[in-house]
Each structure stands twice: as C-alpha cells, then as structure tokens.
C-alpha cells in the first residue's frame, strides 16, 4: 500500500520526533549544506543574478494576473499540435482522468517521471486501486518508492537517506519490483547508480505509458518543459506510446523568451549546476517520433484558492528549486517529513495552507514552523517574501479563532501594555509581568533546555526615576 501524509500529526509533534533522530539530522545537515554551498558559488558567479530574480518574479506575477488567458492559449496550442487537454478542479478529478486514460490503453505497468504534483494528489494510490502499477524513475523518487517511504524534499525526495540506507533498500527491494540489485552491492555511489540504472532501464524499455509532470508550459507554442539530471525524463518522454503530463496551472510562462529567464535560474539555484544535464521540450505529438498520444491534465487543486489570497498568491511563483529548504535552519533540523506534505520547508509552510486552507490542525500549524529568520527570502529565485506570507497566514489562523487561550492571554497583556498606569504597576510589581515572559511562567518548552534569566532587583523605569530624581 502506498504511504501517504494523510492524518499526519501537526508540525510541533512531527518535528519533535524527527529532531530526535540523530542519523536523519546528520543526513539532512550534510546534504543541505553541500547544496547550499554550491548554490552560493554559482549564484555569485552571475553579475545579473538579482535582475534575473526580478524578471522571474515579474513574469510569474504577469502570468498569475492573466492566468485564464494563458491557460486558454495553452489549450489551443496543445490541441492544435495534436495533444488533448483535460481540466481537473481537484485531486479526485485529476486522478480519475489519469486512471481512465491509462485503463483505456490496456496497460497495467507504467512509468512516472518528475511529478511532485502526482504525489500531491495521491495518484499512485488511485492507480493502485485500479490495478495499475506506476513505477518512479527519478533516482531519488525511486529510492522513496522502493523503501515504502515518503518524499522529504522537492528536488531530492530521498535527501533524508544516506548511501548505506539506500544500499539496504536497493538490496532488499529491487528484486520484488523487477531486476534485483547485483550481488554484493556496496554503498559506493557509482555502484548504487549502476544498480538503479539497470533496474530502471528495464522499466523504461517495457513501459508503453508514461506519466510526467512539467517544470514549465510555454503558452505561446503549447510546449512543455522538463528539466532533470538523470536522463530518465528524456527516456520516459520519448519511449512511451502514450504520454500523460499532469501539470499545475501555475506552471505557465508566456513565451520562450520568458522561459530563458527561468532556465538560467533553476539549475543554479536548485542543485548548484550551471545548467541542468537534460532539458526536454515537446509540443503535442510528432508523427513517427515519440509518443503517439499526448494528454495534458491541467490541475487546480487549490491553486485558485491560493490565487485569491492577495498576500499569499506570490507562493504560486514557486519553481520548486528547493533553495528555501536547503537554507532553512528549521528544515535542517527536522527534515521534510515534519511538514506532512510533499512540499516541505518554507515553501511548504506557506503553500500547503494556501492550497488547502487552514481548517485542520496540521495545516494550521505550518505557518508557525518558522523563526521568521528570513534566510529563505534571500535565496528565492522568484523573490517570494516567505516571512510576509507566514505572518499573514498567522493572522488568518489567529482571526479564525484557532487559539482562543493564546488570544485571551495576549489580549490581556496587550490591554495592560496599552494603559500606562497598569503597565507601570505591572513592571514594578513584576507579578503581572509573568504572562510576558516565558522564563517566569511554566510555559512548557522554554525550561527544557534553557536556564531562566535572573530577574533584576530593579526595572529600568525604576532606575530612571531614581536617577532622574538625583539629576534634577
């Protein structure tokens, strides 16, 4: 049975569990710091880096402002090029469309490439229920699938695994799903890659149907773009007879000239490479070359809800480079699973609530999964102001009456503070200061790993009064 994030605990609880896992913390720390270092070097290499970020943000805002027109243009161009466009309002609709398309081909073994969106909508479980076995072909996604695990990063879904854990998963699981791992497999990266190559090649060559995502859809020509590092994308996109691409509506860019901006940013910011090894583009179908049937499933699943949020809509600019999580000090300690979504880290902390709303406890806990340190703002290639969105979402949670006790406490403190006489009395008396100070009240959490500050004998205002009295 495919694992999912359904029923996941709220962030504080899930994070506490993850933080306690020393091996996981070391794996995540090592991986994020490596990518972070490479990204910093390659971003600094471009003298026009900041202008590229400005352009990317502006292009995405332009798309979001006129999304309907761009999407209709995509539909027109894809259809004219021999493809079929489907519209899915939500996960259930998208899963039904894809499942029906696969069932119609008669195939029961299919391959998947580069699609976080299919994780978001739970496509694998839907296909499984219809008797269809979908195998992941991105190396990291395949590691997650073979290990019956969950993704923890948007670019490197198996980032939480080190190579010896991967070796164990390959040795144990590959044989159950196809070509087994070679005898005596070690954790040497080249050996692991070769084992994956052999196991996956069998899948590419056998599959008649592929499901993909897309990094971008160029509206002016109806062209889809997949950016990847392993070549599995190129294989899936060209070898299958039927290609079904499941794409979020926010992935649109107006023109090829706009695409150029993102292709300069994406690999540098995502993996610290000047260019991604494989950039595949396709437009509809081409006689005698590549898939004979091409379906584009355009998925909303909460995106128009996010679009309706005036502050939060900037999250839809995201191009899934993962730099925000690579640089996030919270993510570095918790890894991605704590966020309970295929989108973890700072982008997950804002995007999940924007897509799903704030009605359940897990989603409502995400805007608080940040110290507001702002490191993510500085690396985002599309200039998402994460801290602005986090603060706005917190206000939405507070206004939604989710934390009545907290509201009452802060309200009482605020009322005291706004009345000079009460506040003076509070500071002098110190007894009323309690609610202000985590140190003086038994607020769980503070005292676990921190000493309390000494309470001074005299407040500043008392000193001032005494001192000024002497001066006068």
């Amino acid at each position: 049975m495919t694992r999912s994030f359904l029923g996941w605990p709220a962030f504080p609880e899930a994070a506490e569990r993850e933080v306690g896992n020393e091996q996981l913390r070391e794996n995540v720390r090592r991986a994020t710091r490596t990518i972070r270092g490479k990204r910093a070097v390659l971003a600094a290499e471009r003298p026009d880096w900041e202008q590229l970020r400005d352009s990317a943000a502006a292009i995405k805002d332009q798309v979001l402002a006129g999304l309907e027109q761009y999407l209709l243009q995509v539909e027109e161009k894809v259809t004219a090029a021999g493809g079929t466009v489907h519209w899915a309002r939500d996960a259930a609709e998208a899963n039904r469309i894809v499942t029906d398309l696969v069932l119609a081909t008669g195939e029961r073994e299919i391959v998947k490439v580069k699609s976080m969106l299919t994780e978001e909508i739970g496509l694998d479980a839907a296909l499984e229920a219809a008797g269809i076995n979908a195998r992941e072909t991105d190396l990291a996604a395949a590691i997650v699938q073979l290990g019956d695990d969950l993704p923890s990063h948007v670019v490197v879904p198996a980032l939480h695994r080190n190579r010896s854990e991967i070796r164990d998963i390959f040795a144990r699981e590959m044989g159950r799903h196809g070509r087994p791992a070679p005898e005596g497999l070690t954790d040497d990266p080249a050996e692991l890659a070769e084992a994956a190559r052999l196991h996956l090649r069998e899948k590419f060559l056998g599959a008649r149907v592929a499901v993909s995502g897309a990094n971008f859809v160029v509206a002016e020509t109806g062209t889809l773009v997949v950016v990847e590092s392993e070549g599995n994308g190129r294989m899936c996109l060209t070898l299958a007879d039927t290609l079904i691409s499941v794409v979020g509506i926010e992935k649109t860019v107006p023109t090829w000239a706009d695409l150029e901006v993102f292709l300069q940013l994406l690999a540098r910011n995502a993996t610290g490479e000047r260019m991604a090894p494989y950039t595949s583009t396709w437009t509809g179908t081409t006689h005698g070359d590549g898939p004979r049937d091409f379906h584009l499933v355009l998925v909303d699943n909460g995106r128009t809800r996010a679009l309706a949020d005036p502050v939060g809509r900037q999250a839809l600019r995201c191009i899934r480079c993962g730099a925000c999580m690579n640089t996030c000090p919270v993510y570095e300690r918790t890894g991605g699973h704590a966020y309970g979504s295929v989108y973890p880290g700072p982008i997950g902390a804002i995007l999940n609530p924007l897509l799903k709303g704030l009605d359940d406890e897990q989603t409502a806990s995400l805007p608080y999964a940040s110290t507001l340190c702002g490191a993510c703002n500085e690396v985002c290639p599309v200039r998402i102001r994460f801290t602005d969105v986090l603060l706005d979402l917190r206000a939405q949670v507070a206004d939604g009456g989710k934390h009545p006790v907290e509201r009452a406490a802060l309200g009482a403190v605020g009322a005291t503070m706004a009345r000079p006489l009460l506040w003076k009395a509070a500071v002098k008396g110190a007894g009323l200061v309690g609610p202000l100070l985590p140190a003086r009240t038994p607020v769980p959490g503070w005292s676990d790993n921190r000493a309390l500050p000494d309470v001074p004998k005299e407040s500043f205002r008392t000193w001032w009064k005494r001192n000024e009295g002497e001066r006068a």
Partner: protein
C-alpha cells in the same frame, strides 16, 4: 525644530523586555548617549511595541499597542531603540496592523513616525556619525548578528565596526554567525525541540570561539543563547552591545570576566 524645545528631542524606547529583565541595557544606552552629547528622555508611558502579538498573528491587538506607541512618542524627533527587532516594528508591522484594524488615522500617524524610530547602532553610526565611542572593554568578545538585525533592519557591518573600535577588545568572529539561534519569539515555546536543536548548535559555535562574552543587539536572542550556555554550565556572559560600548577605561574590566592582556 522649535526654538526652545520644551523637552529633549531624543527619546529612548527601552522595550518591555529590557525594562523588566535587562535594565542594564537601558542604563548603558543612556550612559553611552549622554557621553556622546545626546540628552535622552524616557517617556514613562511607554510599554511594548507589540512584536510578540504581531508575530503570533494578533494584528488588531498590535494596532492597540501601535496607537499607544504613536501617542507616547509623537512629540519626539528621534526615538532610539536598543533592539533591532523592536526598532523595526513601526515601519514593518504597524502599517499592516493599522490595516487589519481598519484605522487609516493610525496608518498616517505611523507613516509619519516610523522614519524617526532608529535602532541604536544605526543611530550611532548613521545619525551621530561615530564608530569610535570611547569605549574600553579588555575581554574576548564574539558577536551574534540576530536575524532581524541582519535581514530586516539591515545593520550590516555597523555593530562589528563599533565593536572593533573598542579599546582593549579581543574581537573574534563567530562561526556560522548568520544562522538563526532558534528563538523566534513564540517559536521557542511552540516548537521547543527544533528551537533547542538550533540553539544547541549556536551555543556550540559560541564556545568554539573561546570568547568570554557574547554580544548582540537583541536581548531576546541573547536570553535564548545565554539560557542554553548557563544550563550547560558554561560561564560565557551575554551582553547587549550597548553594555560594551558604554564601558570606559575608568570602569575597568567587567568583574568576573577574564581579562585579555594583548588585544589582537
């Protein structure tokens, strides 16, 4: 500027945390500013900037404190704040709080007042134009640039320049200085495990420097890191930068803190 201002033109907004738990920072700020010729007033009606409320999502409650802040400080030409995060509140948060409260009058008052609210090190370097403030501090010191001072208030190298100009100081760089200490206001109590893990790494880096004093421009973060150091039994002192800059040769070394003989 009126010909005979009825009271000093410069106000100290000490912040509620400093008033109650870190009064030494307020005293040091007053001492330092007076030494530099600034007559500073402390309007006693002041309380809290509302940062805790705002960052937790309570914008209407923040607006109430914003109104109070504006009423308290409206008559001053400059308001000096020994806290980078609190100093940023009028410009960054009050407009949003006013909007949430549907109070355009407050928004106008905030727009008028906010440019006059200045963080202490910015006040020293930009308004007074000094880096050498006549301080003497013969101790090994490292400095944690708090997230707000670094990324929101944009203090840049100002605090470092002020520290390096202190006579007798042995200033050492903090490894991974720009990483958050894990405080994050209510984050520290809402997500104690993660906060504690971040704080543990920060404390370890402080110890790696061999410094006897850790300085910063936000006592909230120092309370977090210092709490960890104390809990683990390390005698590193945490001090707001103002408390270093306020000390002169006449004050002598800080009692109980090892003295460095030859500064680097």
């Amino acid at each position: 500027m009126p010909p005979n201002p009825p009271r000093p033109r410069t106000a100290l907004f000490v912040t509620c945390l400093n008033d109650t738990l870190f009064p030494g920072t307020g005293r040091a700020t007053v001492t330092l500013l007076r030494r530099l010729g600034v007559e500073v007033d402390f309007p006693a009606a002041q309380s809290c900037c509302g940062q805790m409320h705002f960052n937790t999502g309570y914008r209407k409650e923040t607006a109430r404190l914003a109104r109070h802040f504006v009423d308290t400080f409206a008559d001053y030409e400059e308001i000096v704040v020994p806290s980078a995060s609190c100093a940023g509140m009028p410009a960054e948060a009050y407009p949003l709080a006013a909007e949430a409260a549907g109070d355009p009058g407050l928004a106008r008052a905030v727009a008028e007042l906010a440019p006059r609210v200045v963080e202490l090190t910015q006040y020293l370097t930009d308004r007074l134009g000094v880096e050498q403030v006549g301080a003497h501090f013969p101790h090994r010191v490292t400095y944690h640039p708090t997230c707000h001072s670094l990324r929101a208030t944009g203090l840049g190298e100002r605090p470092h320049r002020l520290l390096r100009a202190v006579a007798g100081i042995d200033y050492v760089e903090l490894p991974a200085a720009q990483e958050c200490c894990g405080f994050g206001g209510t984050f520290a109590v809402k997500n104690p495990a993660v906060s504690g893990a971040m704080n543990g790494d920060k404390a370890r880096h402080v110890l790696e420097t061999g410094a006897h004093v850790l300085a910063a421009v936000d006592n909230s973060c120092l309370m977090n890191i210092g709490g960890r150091l104390t809990k683990d039994g390390h005698p590193v002192r945490t001090l707001h930068l103002a408390e270093i800059l306020a000390r002169t040769e006449q004050d002598g070394p800080l009692p109980g803190v090892p003295v460095v003989e030859a500064a680097r």
